[in-house]
Symmetry: C2
């Protein structure tokens, strides 16, 4: 467009660059450099999925390279672990960080699970007995994604480098960590080593995201509990040649010759698709007769290593394929070419969980945390590990940032911050559930399944299917419910609870559960939008106000609530509390000037009709004649619910967590 | 997951990296270096949206830095042009390149258009008379997106740098270009200058994507035709403070005081949202009394510059705001702060189109092409410029690549390649349509609209709305239909045409039109998928086989067609022809072994049921009892349609464009 007169502002040119997440405001002084000691507010040990997620979130929330250090013993994201599954809830979280596109586009979307069992027709040997959705609960992405763990790590690290010049300090090992209160402000003292050069680093907080053999856990004397052992399994990633019809679906195959789980994987550069097979190595092992020694630090008594170890040593690529081939019969399965095997391994894992996820100093301040595999070890078959690990960090990050930035009332009063205590409260419970689920799922999956109920003690296919489906709330990540604590308040009696229904998995609002995504239409511009896009992971609390149908009545409950909420928001540090407003079907069309000005002031671009696409009120269990208010935490979990008329309840909750200004 | 035995292949580690589009096979020798002369197969002049799109596509198709040079006179993507609108069809194209995510997430999605007109109620002055969808035709993304042109360029260039080490050679100007057949293989001779250093560059082909004042166009003696002039308009990007209720919608405001178009724009780093206003500067100008001199090279006679130039010089930021404020009354509108104006300009543009988009050498080989604004100038108000420009390149790129890589029969025979002729055939027609539409739309938009039909010659609101809606096929980019040529064959008589219906805008298959996206379920894994994701912009032709309902009959038409198609695909260079298969509802469930093995062989991961989500057969106008075959070109446009039983027609078409091996 040729123009003949033109003016452009200086800032305009910068608008071609990718945008950044806005940092949280900081009310505490920024860290001052101490020339004597290298020190940080947070040190993260380990840059696997848990450590990178934590480091990235803290950097996005505003912790600078002077404030934050992440170290990892590995040289690169190459040679990373073998996890490959992302749950729907993890996908929602990655989307809220703007990091889901490559994963959704290039990962393998798993939409279905096929169950294959012994057939009554002896010629068939096995037959498909069920084909069900892989994810049976409502979720923004109703499927799982499988993709190389290293790719997730590379995506997280690439984004980290937009916020942190240093990124991860690699080739760096933790040697020791202890709490040493001679420096009361930086009481965590770590010894680390880079390329043979050892140094001391002090920090306010340290997080061990350093895996199953966590050095942080060991140094802090935290114990792994639980000791049952899974059967021996082989696992292989390869390009297959097979006539098995469901090779691109997740499959649980129980054949007379053994069990196999098929996990379809992503397409690779050759245009081929990878497949992961979990293959049971037959023969029984007494689950309590042996366990894998875990550097002698697991805190449980170690029985003599016997038969199982001998058997494990016999597992080779050849035995894995022999067992797989037997279980797939009458179908054939083999590597497509001689070099079609990408990776294989054999493993035998006990389900164990750490007794505590954090350690306090003498003043009761939580100073050292562990996250991810450092907290929980379990079998890989339910595809949980990488997810639960990243979600540990997602839970911890905002709490750490609020405390460090002086955004909590306790941090203002310089007291032990109770918000940091909620990390262990919330995530330890989830880890225990993970372990319990995995124990049931693994042993069931390892067991034989008969096609008929013959009283032999074998599981029936229906029983297996039931456990699988019941577990879906957990395995999808969408059914997680945090226990009651200062950030999850569930003290409403029936009379004052504006929520109808208890089917929380389907979206009924419930403190402690994540806010289900819904599709709605924005008032300002008619944008057909996903609600979760207004709940991005920028560390903000959000008031979700579902007005009642009296919104157009200037003296109605809705209008009064919106005016009152408009007076609450400015009491908190700028931008820390945002507001999203949804209205039900109203008696007539309206424009901005028909509703309180507070809506446009605080929610011009987050004000929606909740009935044109999804029936939001029905999904959330809110009566349109009554409305409701929910507070959603920075991690997308609902903190409290209140009646529309009881805005003081909202105010009280927010003030218990966020400092006023 | 701790393992006790492990093996990993060397290639595994590379799988953490982003994936690349697979290049096209090359049957011609790669370019050999000539020490005497700097030479390339293609030189692209200009790295705006048209030039970058072309350069990126050619690099993705396999042209190396030795084969391809792109120069631009600007130092960076900063200070780029002022276009801001992306059509649904352009979004589909960007998605097919994996480049849509940032644009969809961070651009402004325009879903609605509001029409404001004089009110009969004199206190109101203006009122909203209609609110309609911005995009009224089916499209994968049923909205437009507005976003800074420089951001699009930065996204394209970032991706380019994954395929090209050099990227764009900046600060480099074209001084002259001519065809000099003393080097018959590299007959295009260009003089370019970098930082005052001048050099000669030879190439097989040169593309001028160098904007409205194109030096390539001038050097080649191509003429712009058409000379009518738009009215004088001011345009401003700013953060507004207003009580106008539809400020976040696209608006056409016709008030008694003048006309304004509102274009909502993206959110910027401050959290504010930009708005673009097009403001008419009142007073009439004789459209033929003046025109903007275009360096004296436009080839039309230049009448004396008079009144209009005087008036243009009076347009300032102040007059633009005064006119806007008057048109918005009774609502107020002003910059939110003193520094809220991002950019403003005044312009007056004639609608003109180049007489030819390519120039041949003495042997009849098309050697020099122009694309984008070099071919067509028009007003910005319909948001077409950046789109038509990028789509010029999208049309040209695969044709150039096929010819250069020796994938066309003509290139094998070393004759003038007729496929290169189709660029002008197809895109000149579209440019003419663009100009015609823009002329009608602009003059109508500049005209006064009365609320009542009083015979004054003014447009009625209904008339305006009609033109707007009828234009939607064109303005969305989804209604483009290429004229018949060797790649678009429409010679079926009624009896042999398997397509029912003529509502091509709604998806009915039609040679020359783009394949509408549909949602379907993949057989192999139950993935609920967008069909267009199987038509990514990797330069491949695709056979789209819609089987009939007799698919499970081994001797049926469908089975016979699939077997025959399976024999056609291997006749062409490896991977150049892909196949996608869709089936209608069938009489029973089935597995792979119930259908011809050719389906799994060629389409394991592109075989779908076409009735579970969208009713694909109905949308495409195909009778499920009859089926149909379509060939889709590398740019997503249908080339030919055939009966399921007439596979030789498909073979003939493919052989006319692609060399066999």
């Amino acid at each position: 467009m040729p123009v003949f007169t033109e003016y452009a502002s200086a800032s305009r040119e910068l608008r071609v660059l990718p945008s950044f997440a806005p940092p949280l405001p900081r009310l505490t002084p920024t860290v001052s450099e101490d020339t004597k000691t290298e020190r940080y507010e947070v040190v993260v040990v380990g840059a696997g999925p848990a450590g990178l997620m934590l480091d990235l979130l803290l950097a996005r929330y505003g912790l600078s390279d002077e404030s934050l250090l992440c170290i990892d013993s590995k040289p690169t994201t190459l040679k990373s672990g073998q996890a490959d599954g992302l749950q729907p809830r993890t996908l929602e979280t990655l989307k809220s960080l703007g990091l889901a596109d490559e994963i959704l586009t290039e990962g393998c979307q798993m939409w279905q699970v096929a169950f294959w069992n012994p057939s009554d027709d002896k010629d068939k040997i096995i037959e498909r007995t069920s084909l069900i959705p892989d994810v049976a609960v409502p979720a923004r992405y109703p499927h799982e994604v499988t993709i190389h763990q290293g790719r997730i790590e590379r995506i997280l690290e690439t984004d980290l480098l937009r916020y942190s010049k240093r990124g991860v300090q690699r080739d760096t090992q933790l040697i020791d960590v202890k709490i040493d209160e001679s420096d009361a402000e930086y009481p965590v003292l770590a010894e680390i080593e880079t390329d043979g050069h050892r140094r001391s680093v002090r920090s306010k907080y340290l997080v061990g995201a350093d895996g199953a053999h966590s050095m942080v856990r060991r140094c802090m004397g935290l114990k792994l509990e639980g000791e049952s052992l899974d059967h021996i399994w082989g696992v292989v990633d390869l390009i297959v040649d097979t006539d098995f019809p469901d090779i691109r679906k997740r499959c649980a195959i129980h054949s007379p010759a053994g069990s196999v789980m098929v996990i379809p994987r992503e397409r690779i550069a050759t245009g081929d698709y990878l497949t992961r097979l979990y293959v049971q190595v037959p023969g029984d092992v007494d689950p309590d007769s042996d366990q894998q020694p875990e550097n002698g630090t697991n805190g449980t008594n170690t029985p003599p290593v016997g038969d199982a170890r001998t058997r494990r040593s016999k597992v080779t690529e050849k035995t894995i394929f022999e067992n797989a081939a037997a279980a797939f019969k009458p179908y054939y399965i083999r590597p497509k070419t001689d070099d079609a095997v990408d990776w294989w391994a054999a493993y035998q894992i006990g389900q164990r969980v750490a007794d505590d996820f954090s350690v306090k100093d003498s003043k009761g301040v939580n100073r050292v945390f562990i996250a991810g595999d450092a907290c929980h070890t379990h079998s890989p078959k339910a595809g949980q590990g990488m997810n639960v690990s990243m979600m540990d960090s997602y839970n911890l990050a905002w709490k750490l940032a609020y405390s460090i930035h002086g955004l909590t009332p306790a941090s203002a009063a310089e007291k032990a911050d109770p918000i940091l205590e909620t990390y262990n409260t919330e995530r330890h419970t989830i880890a225990q559930q993970l372990i319990d689920f995995d124990r049931a799922f693994s042993s069931m999956f390892s067991g034989k399944i008969g096609a008929s109920q013959d009283g032999s003690g074998e599981l029936t296919h229906d029983e297996f299917l039931q456990v699988f489906s019941r577990g879906n709330g957990f395995t999808s990540g969408c059914g997680i419910e945090y226990t009651e604590n200062m950030t999850v308040v569930r003290d409403l009696d029936n009379g004052s609870n504006p929520i109808n229904g208890t089917d929380y998995l389907s979206g009924i609002l419930r403190p402690g559960r994540r806010l289900l995504n819904v599709r709605l239409v924005r008032h300002a511009d008619g944008y057909r939008r996903d609600l979760q896009d207004d709940f991005s992971s920028t560390g903000r609390f959000r008031i979700l106000c579902l007005t009642s149908s009296d919104l157009l009545d200037h003296n109605g409950t809705s209008a009064q609530a919106l005016v009152a909420l408009g007076a609450i928001i400015p009491q908190f540090p700028l931008s820390v509390v945002e507001q999203v407003v949804i209205h039900p079907r109203l008696p007539r069309e309206f424009m901005w000037n028909d509703i309180p000005g507070e809506v446009k002031e605080h929610s011009e671009m987050s004000f929606y009709s909740g009935y044109e696409l999804d029936d939001v009120y029905d999904i959330y269990g809110v009566n349109p004649d009554r409305g409701a208010v929910a507070i959603v935490r920075p991690d997308g979990y609902i903190g409290i619910i209140s009646e529309l008329g009881d805005v003081s309840r909202v105010e009280q909750y927010l003030k218990s967590i966020i400092r006023t200004v």
